[in-house]
């Protein structure tokens, strides 16, 4: 097997209780027998643990926060590219995607490739437009975007309590009454702005599926997982791959209808009442548990690198069922010199030496 010498940059190096996907993406790429190259970590915080973990990043650069806009991002990447020429960038956080899409043409001219979702795909997966997926034949909970508190007291005309109250970017709560809904409306709108999204509450078993679409309607691979251990915030701390043929069909159908391009995480609920599969959310990037795809025999992060490099990638063999992951939380010891370097210069070159 001929190995590929590539220089790949990956973002999202926080590995806290609610980790970013970056470290898992890097571990997956490094596990590919085809990869032989260097990996540069793009971090937002000097204390992102992925900066310091051994065997993860060859180089690390601090990045401007997404709120600073795409111009700052492009300038920083140009600076990095002049020091460490990059072949591929894999942004792993939702909040970065918009800026990366804006500069993707410039990156391409610089010879830096990526495999991002389409602008249309990103728009459709947003919570505000999510209900429109039903017009495409995708089963989603009934939903509505509201901008005023008075709308809450009209909800019982169209919704049955409990309902989900969701921020347009993050956070979701179950409200069992209009009064409770009003409280959550205040809390969410103060944090994430308007509109706030009301969604039908579907009772059933929740599953997560990591998938990779080729952008033409084809599914390169999919790893369905049931969470077996949760954090207090309901994030996966452990999970196991499953094989539900009806759900697999549903996933293939969603990717085809959306012509999804790139990685994503689908949150799906199998209704206890009807047995139907409801698409609850699409996260437009790898989940933090994406290293499970390597364990289950489908290295989706590496397949993404190949797609970014315009290499043909055929559909991967079905994933291995019953593959389990469990996270852990242990203390690592590091010299202060690395922290000092990243704090003062915003970069660590030759980090793994």
């Amino acid at each position: 097997m001929k190995k590929k010498k590539l220089s790949i940059a990956v973002s999202g190096l926080n590995v806290t209780e609610n980790p970013g996907p970056g470290v898992s993406v890097i571990r997956s790429i490094r596990d590919s027998l085809e990869f032989d190259g260097i990996i540069t970590g793009l971090a937002f915080d000097p204390l992102d643990p992925g900066i310091y973990m051994r065997g993860i990043c060859d180089n690390v650069f601090l990045m401007p926060y997404p709120s600073q806009g795409s111009d700052h991002l492009l300038e920083r990447i140009k600076e990095i590219h002049s020091k460490i020429p990059l072949d591929v960038i894999i942004p792993t956080l939702d909040s970065e995607l918009d800026a990366y899409l804006r500069i993707s043409g410039e990156l391409e001219k610089m010879g830096i490739k990526s495999f991002l979702p389409s602008v249309e795909g990103l728009k459709l997966r947003s919570k505000v437009y999510f209900e429109r997926l039903s017009e495409m034949g995708i089963t989603v909970p009934h939903g509505k975007s509201i901008t005023s508190m008075t709308s809450i007291y009209e909800l019982d005309k169209k919704f049955k309590f409990p309902v989900m109250i969701k921020g347009q970017f993050y956070e979701a709560y179950i409200a069992y009454s209009p009064m409770e809904a009003e409280n959550y409306f205040r809390k969410i709108s103060a944090k994430w702005g308007l509109p706030v999204v009301i969604q039908e509450f579907v009772v059933g078993q929740e599953y997560d599926v990591m998938a990779l679409g080729d952008g033409r309607g084809g599914l390169i691979g999919a790893v369905p997982m049931k969470k077996i251990q949760l954090t207090e915030n309901g994030k996966a701390w452990g999970g196991i791959t499953i094989d539900d043929s009806a759900m697999n069909k549903c996933v293939r159908d969603i990717i085809a209808k959306l012509k999804w391009r790139g990685p994503c995480e689908l949150e799906i609920i199998k209704s206890k009442d009807t047995g139907d599969y409801y698409l609850i959310e699409i996260n437009p990037r790898f989940p933090a548990w994406c290293y499970l795809s390597v364990g289950a025999g489908q290295n989706l992060p590496w397949a993404t690198v190949k797609l970014a490099m315009n290499e043909p990638v055929s559909e991967l063999s079905p994933c291995q069922i019953g593959t389990m992951f469990l996270r852990n939380s242990i203390d690592h010891i590091y010299p202060i010199s690395k922290y000092q370097a990243i704090m003062t210069s915003g970069e660590l070159i030759g980090n793994n030496k």
Partner: protein, 81 residues
């Protein structure tokens, strides 16, 4: 009794059961493991009772009641229809 095949279930000799469709895991006692193995082998209700009578020192009435209760449990868990 389950109409569909249960051959997809992963059941160890020690009674660890993994349902790959739902992702749920269970620990069965030796009687539950015995019964479910027979179900996976597509034994009928009567055939399972006959196998239990041979295996366990108990009356047919008690074993029938136990088997019905176990079916109820499996149904509640969505393992059988």
């Amino acid at each position: 009794m389950a109409k569909h095949s249960l051959s997809h279930l992963a059941l160890s000799d020690e009674g660890f059961l993994f349902d790959p469709t739902s992702g749920h895991t269970y620990t069965l006692n030796s009687v539950g493991t015995f019964i479910l193995k027979k179900m996976i082998e597509e034994y009928s209700f009567d055939q399972i009772i006959a196998a239990m009578i041979e295996e366990y020192d108990s009356s047919e009435d008690i074993l029938t009641r136990d088997l019905e209760q176990f079916f109820h449990f499996l149904s509640e868990q969505g393992i059988i229809a």
